[in-house]
Assembly symmetry: C2
Homo-oligomer: 212 residues x 2
């Protein structure tokens, strides 16, 4: 499993001349980093006298960000597995007409799955950003920059996932599937951008205001 490798080894495998792991797994990892930082800000708020009024909210929020972190972490490997299944399907025999038909169906099926994995990442990022906004707004002010980095990582994760949705949709023949998900990914991109901008406005207010 990729997630059981050290950070250095993960980076080595990423940089290598193998296409997997690639951008899809990195998008999931970026999202996991964003969820983890959101949990951290909640953790640095819980137990502090100054933030007693939001303690219950932060405890409840943390259980959700930790669920999301787990889901993103699992997806780091899932994305690479989905990619490998597409490659396996391309490697199926194509001598007879029957083999050709089976191979083509297997490629289509595997490519649809490889599209749905990053789409799921994008949907989970929308949920995560809503929680990051709460910690940016009400969490420990000393950790405002961490809430900002959380939003940046979640947004990069969603945009990276979107590129993987688009590139996979190019290989799919089912035009209903393509049309539906092309609209969906564009809507998810707009939603994530809007939520990220809201968080960064809150964070910049806290982090940069003292300069003036």
């Amino acid at each position: 499993m990729l997630t059981e490798k050290t950070v250095v080894k993960f980076l080595d495998e990423l940089a290598s001349n193998s296409p997997a792991p690639g951008g899809g797994s990195v998008a999931a990892l970026a999202s996991a980093l964003g969820a983890a930082l959101t949990s951290m800000v909640a953790n640095l708020t819980i137990g502090k006298k100054k933030y007693l009024a939001v303690e219950a909210e932060m405890i409840s929020l943390r259980s959700k960000t930790e669920e999301l972190r787990k889901a993103f972490t699992v997806t780091i490997d899932q994305d690479t597995e989905a990619f490998n299944k597409v490659m396996e399907a391309f490697g199926l025999p194509k001598e007879t007409d029957d083999q050709k038909a089976l191979r083509s169906a297997a490629i289509q099926e595997a490519t649809k799955e490889a599209t749905l994995v990053p789409l799921r990442v994008m949907k989970l990022v929308v949920d995560a950003l809503a929680l990051t906004k709460v910690v940016a707004d009400k969490g420990n002010t000393n950790s405002a920059s961490d809430a900002g980095v959380a939003a940046l990582m979640l947004h990069a994760g969603a945009e990276g996932a979107a590129l993987n949705v688009y590139i996979n949709l190019n290989g799919i023949n089912d035009q209903e599937f393509v049309g539906w998900h092309t609209d969906e990914v564009a809507t998810l991109q707009r939603t994530c951008k809007m939520k990220t901008d809201e968080i960064l406005a809150i964070v910049n207010e806290k982090v940069i205001k003292k300069q003036s």
Copy 2:
């Protein structure tokens, strides 16, 4: 060392109620992921007949992205160390006037160093983005989405580093240092945004054009 932990353990430590590692180390990791993906696209271009014309350029480029990847990876730990030194300085005794003066000087010194680490990340991201643009433009088209994710990670790394520069500048009394680096970080942010947009325009052209 953080980078010798597994990805799962790194995420666990990040999410914990300890302020380090935090957003600064994540910004360095995001940049390392971007450099690694840039190397990957170069590696998936080298040795392919179709890309023989750019092979020498890709080989030369890869040695630079691998240097940058190493530099970013080292900074994952450096940022946390710099943060811990600031915390240590705050923990120095402050009973006598001499102790107070020493403590204050140590805090200032450590906070300056904690500002320079993410500034260095931003400068290296500018170099990395120039190379990512080359692989997005001339590299293996099948890996266009990976070049795009590389740019997204580098940009998130630079913006995350910028937040860490700003929050540290707030604690520094030396107004010449603050003024100089406030201008510098804003210039670096603009440069990184421009370069990232250029890369994403190239990538979107390759990845999304077939939808229409």
